[in-house]
């Protein structure tokens, strides 16, 4: 047994070394950096909790927290509903595999499009001049002569919609697989009992998917908290800080203002929140495994 363990560790060691070098060491450095005044001169000067005090003294902090909550909460709720809708439609109602695959393929387009291309498309679509796609439609319908600056006037709405579009495919495909895994006899029994399709969805599909829903919701929340690419490329957090979220704020402080210590402090606070979600994900995963084991 002990020999087997040694062999396992031997095989795992390259991976463990890489993880230590690429994940654990940078994480430790980030923690240390958060307590320094590291800036563009790359001098590590220990400053205690000055960076954290700065975060809480910054009058922009409440606005950034509110933005982050709005962004994450809206994206996650809309994404989950839309994910479920498409998963049920393409798996339960559309029985032809090729048609369902076509729809799922279409949903994957925003996800597989490179972020830069995808964001440029949004910027073009919502361009503030009269040549912008949406402005052409708007001016055509309303007869208005004044184009609307969509991105400047509705920055949060724009980034939320853009982000939701890229998130749909992941949840839909996961839920689809989960629906397929529901034993067919449950559906048959429901139909024998005279259940309508909506009742089947409500009483069989959704309850069977509850742990998947929880897992995907937590997973997506984690992604939304830490990923800011779409916002960076479309609004860069602006105008002002109208669409600035926590992770983007860390990026701006670290890489635009060259305040690496300050940026690390902001990241560290985010990591604390993310850790809570990771623990929650682990607990849900463990529960799902136990449940599957019990079912077997």
């Amino acid at each position: 047994m002990r020999k087997n363990n040694a062999q396992a560790y031997l095989f795992l060691s390259p991976f463990l070394i890489l993880v230590t070098l690429l994940y654990i060491l940078p994480a430790i450095l980030t923690v240390v950096m958060a307590f320094t005044g590291l800036d563009s001169s790359f001098e590590w000067e220990f400053e205690g909790i000055k960076n954290f005090r700065r975060v809480f003294r910054d009058p922009n902090t409440p606005k950034i927290i509110i933005n982050t909550i709005i962004y994450v909460a809206t994206c996650i709720s809309v994404t989950m509903v839309v994910d479920l809708f498409f998963a049920i439609m393409t798996t339960h109602f559309i029985k032809t595999e090729s048609t369902a695959s076509f729809f799922k393929g279409v949903l994957m387009i925003p996800m597989i499009t490179p972020a830069v291309v995808y964001s440029v498309l949004w910027i073009w679509l919502l361009s503030s001049n009269s040549g912008g796609f949406l402005n052409k439609i708007f001016m055509g319908i309303t007869g208005s002569q004044t184009p609307v600056n969509w991105i400047a006037n509705y920055p949060m709405q724009v980034v939320i919609i853009a982000k939701i579009m890229t998130s749909i495919a992941f949840g839909t495909i996961n839920f689809s697989s989960a629906i397929k895994a529901i034993p067919e006899n449950q559906f048959k029994a429901a139909r024998v009992d005279g259940a309508k399709e909506w009742e089947i969805v409500k009483s069989i599909i959704i309850p069977n998917l509850r742990f998947h829903i929880l897992f995907i919701a937590l997973w997506e929340t984690l992604g939304l908290l830490t990923d800011y690419t779409t916002i960076l490329l479309i609004t860069d957090g602006g105008p002002g800080i109208a669409s600035e979220v926590w992770a983007l704020s860390a990026y701006h402080k670290a890489f635009i203002s060259a305040k690496y210590g300050y940026g690390a402090a902001i990241s560290l606070l985010l990591i604390a929140v993310v850790l809570v979600f990771m623990i929650a994900i682990s607990m849900v995963s463990a529960h799902m495994e136990r449940r599957e084991a019990d079912a077997r």
């Binding site: 800036d39 563009s40 001169s41 790359f42 001098e43 700065r54 003294r57 910054d58 009058p59 922009n60 503030s128 600056n149 991105i151 400047a152 006037n153 602006g238 105008p239 002002g240 800080i241 109208a242 635009i256 203002s257 060259a258 305040k259 300050y262």
Partner: protein
């Protein structure tokens, strides 16, 4: 026989030794530059040929070769990359500088105070001077000015003579900033131009020139950053009014990219613009005009006197190169810069001609390349009024926070008072107490 062999061997050895000493020493310098104006590093490379000749005349056989690293990235990022490379012992030997205070802080710039500064225009080293020491050599003397469209003025009812005389009136203090803003408004209202005044879309020191026109100061005699609250309020009020009350500036100007703004200024859609004179290369390029055509349409003037500013002025914003303090060849790098300042000023004149600006070296400004440049020839007088801004710690943070406020002001999302408060708080948070004065 043995003696013969010995003599032959000694002779062969001597021959080898002579050949070896006769071989030129080849020195490879790494040279780095960012963005378009490659005439800056190219001037250094061309100066190397002349330096080799000078070395040869002195009996030194040195061949200078270059390993080029020309990039096109954000200047802030370029500066950070250089500092990072320096920390790793891999910085170029000679490079275009960015954020000099940060580079001096880490000690990556060689002190070049012993360079013969008499050859240069007065004060041109100020922006590269920290604690009395010069850390980079200015290669040009671009000034930040106000562009205006002469053809629009003529269409508005002025004669071409009157339109062309405007810079002189500004220089004489006979035409004020308030009158100019009113002119922008009148021209727009008359339907001659769609917009009266534009500015850069990103952060930059151009806005500080308007602040200064409105009586503000942003550094003191010790080159410490100053936050002048009253003047800042006047500046933000102007920005707000320009976009929301007078409506001479588009609300979403900051969201429009450089190509759109350059075209707007180049084709006369916008009457006036403030920024560095070398931006005219981009403006002319955006509307496919050569310098001659461009100078027939657009003219440049200084920032005029105002209710709060007694003297017309322009700000000098040179571009320059510094030497890596850890270079293996400090003397050669230094000699290259000295060569440019003395015998090879024509290379700097060529650079200045290409980017439509004056040169930092006096001799170059007398050369035909500059005196016959249709754009530069008309702005030579500005050198007398040019203010050289010193190297200021924290200026990039101020520029960045000001832009944030400008964007929101132009969109009408905040008031000038809120803008002042926001910028002030950010400066308090992000700049060390001893590096900023609030007044």
């Amino acid at each position: 026989m043995n003696t013969r062999k010995l003599v032959a061997l000694v002779m062969a050895l001597c021959l080898c030794l002579v050949s070896f000493t006769a071989m030129a020493e080849t020195v490879t310098l790494k040279i780095a530059h960012n963005y378009d104006f490659v005439t800056i590093p190219d001037a250094v490379i061309a100066a190397a040929d002349r330096l080799e000749e000078r070395y040869a005349a002195e009996g030194k056989d040195i061949q200078i070769e270059f390993e080029k690293d020309y990039q096109r990235i954000d200047w802030g990022e370029y500066g950070k990359n250089l500092i990072f490379a320096y920390k790793n012992g891999d910085a170029p030997d000679i490079f275009s500088v960015s954020d000099v205070p940060a580079m001096v802080d880490v000690g990556m710039l060689m002190d070049i105070s012993d360079l013969n500064t008499d050859a240069f225009v007065d004060g041109v080293f100020d922006c590269y001077t920290v604690d009395g020491k010069a850390y980079a050599m200015p290669f040009d003397l671009p000034v930040r000015v106000i562009y205006y469209n002469k053809l629009s003025l003529v269409e508005f009812g002025w004669t071409m003579e009157e339109a062309e005389a405007l810079p002189a009136k500004v220089a004489a203090g006979e035409f004020t900033w308030e009158q100019f803003v009113q002119l922008c408004d009148d021209i727009q209202n008359a339907g001659v131009c769609t917009w009266g005044m534009a500015h850069r879309p990103g952060a930059g020191s151009d806005f500080l020139d308007v602040l200064q026109t409105l009586g503000g100061r942003y550094y003191d005699e010790n080159s410490t950053l100053v936050f002048d609250e009253d003047a800042m309020l006047r500046f933000f009020q102007f920005i707000y009014d320009a976009a929301n009350t007078l409506e001479i500036t588009p609300h979403d100007l900051a969201q429009q990219g450089w190509p759109s703004i350059n075209t707007m200024v180049g084709d006369g859609t916008c009457f006036a613009y403030y920024g560095p004179i070398y931006s005219s290369t981009y403006v002319a390029g955006a509307v496919n005009k050569d310098p001659q055509q461009f100078s027939e349409d657009v003219a440049f003037m200084m920032f005029p006197v105002s209710e709060f500013n007694e003297k017309p002025f322009v700000i000098a914003a040179p571009q320059g190169m510094g030497i890596n303090s850890a270079t293996k060849y400090p003397e050669i790098c230094h000699d290259l810069l000295a060569e440019l300042a003395a015998g090879s000023a024509d290379l700097l004149a060529n650079h200045a001609d290409v980017i439509f600006t004056l040169s930092s070296v006096k001799a170059a400004n007398e050369m035909e390349a500059i005196t016959t440049n249709p754009i530069v020839a008309d702005v030579g007088y500005m050198a007398e009024h040019a203010i050289s801004v010193p190297s200021i710690n924290g200026i990039n943070t101020l520029n960045s926070e000001m832009l944030n406020a400008i964007v929101q002001l132009e969109l009408g999302q905040i008031t000038p008072e809120q803008a002042v408060e926001n910028v002030k708080i950010q400066m308090e948070l992000n700049i060390d107490e001893d590096e900023i004065i609030f007044e």
